[in-house]
């Protein structure tokens, strides 16, 4: 039984990859797949997860532009991989351009209680429709920004090539996660800014981790 297990998407370089597991490059041109032969889909077990993580990290260290694949991306044969590449070529090429030379830092914001985080309602001017739309706009903007730690976000902004903000569906201690795309060489500056600024943000605990392969900047949905 044949099978292809995908570790990520690369551009036109490199043309050869060494190491374990034996890796192959599928496709031609500026968007290609890095994969290994694997007879059947991996089971979601610790060894498989850590092996996937280690391989992606090893690749990301050596390749300037690598879009990492989520765990478990297995296709039955090379034809299926090529078809998938052709179907998503444009999105993948744009994403590769964006993440070239970059890494992901993950910033998590924890707070004491959800109630403290409730923003006041917008001014109640206009009719009920206007007020409703104002409220909706406030909610929309809040979901895509981090006003509670604005000083830190402002300080980091010169380093950010891109950002994604996510808030948990069920509010709790974790208020939000920011996935920040920065240049590889900016990692130390990022950590320094977080270390200097985060302790001054009363009421919040900030954790930063990375550098990671840019998992959060894979185009979606592609499936």
């Amino acid at each position: 039984m044949s099978g292809i297990y995908v570790y990520g998407i690369i551009g036109a370089e490199p043309n050869e990859l060494e190491g374990e597991p034996p890796l192959r490059i599928i496709g031609n041109g500026p968007v290609r797949v890095v994969a290994a032969d694997l007879a059947e889909p991996p089971r979601p077990e610790p060894a498989a997860l850590t092996a996937h993580n280690a391989t992606v990290h090893r690749l990301a260290e050596r390749i300037a532009a690598l879009l990492p694949a989520r765990f478990g991306q297995w296709l039955p044969d090379e034809r299926a991989v090529v078809d998938w590449l052709e179907a998503h070529h444009r999105d993948l090429a744009e994403a590769l351009d964006q993440i070239a030379g970059c890494v992901q830092m993950t910033l998590r914001v924890y707070g004491a209680s959800v109630q403290e985080d409730q923003a006041p309602d917008p001014p109640s001017t206009g009719g009920p429709g206007t007020r409703y739309l104002a409220k909706r706009r406030q909610q929309f903007e809040r979901e895509r920004s981090l006003p509670e730690i604005a000083p830190l976000r402002d300080a980091l902004r010169p380093l950010l090539r891109a950002e994604r903000i996510e808030r948990p569906a069920v509010p709790g201690r974790l208020r939000a996660t920011a996935y920040d795309l920065i240049a590889r060489e900016a990692t130390d500056d990022y950590s320094r800014i977080v270390a200097e600024t985060a302790p001054r943000l009363a009421g919040f605990r900030i954790t930063a981790s990375g550098p990671w392969p840019p998992y959060a900047f894979a185009p979606r949905p592609l499936a």
Binding site: V6, G8, I9, P41, P42, R43, P44, E45, P46, A47, L49, T50, H52, N53, A54, H57, L67, P68, A69, R70, F71, G72, Q73, W74, L75, V81, W84, L92, T106, R108, T177, S191, V194, A195, A198, P199, R205, I206, T207, A208, S209, G210, W212, P213, Y215, A216, A218, P219, R220, P221, L222, A223
Partner: protein, 68 residues
């Protein structure tokens, strides 16, 4: 790992330093070619069941000091 109640910043070092990030990255993000092929095909319950298995098992993989 540092004290979770410590109000100061924790900049985590190394690729495997955070179980949360490991699970977040590998199971929730990244390029997707085949949707839910691994995490179950028969419906929500199966997906959740398998995710639970992964979470429980991955917790045993990391060094003890990395667990919060």
């Amino acid at each position: 790992m540092s004290d979770p109640d410590d109000p100061t910043l924790h900049v985590l070092e190394g690729a495997d330093s955070s179980l949360l990030d490991l699970v977040d990255n590998l199971l929730n993000q990244g390029v997707v070619l085949t949707g839910d092929l691994i995490l179950g095909l028969a419906g929500v319950d199966l997906i959740y069941a398998r995710l639970s298995l992964v979470l429980c098992a991955a917790d045993r993989v990391l060094p003890k000091e990395d667990r919060e």
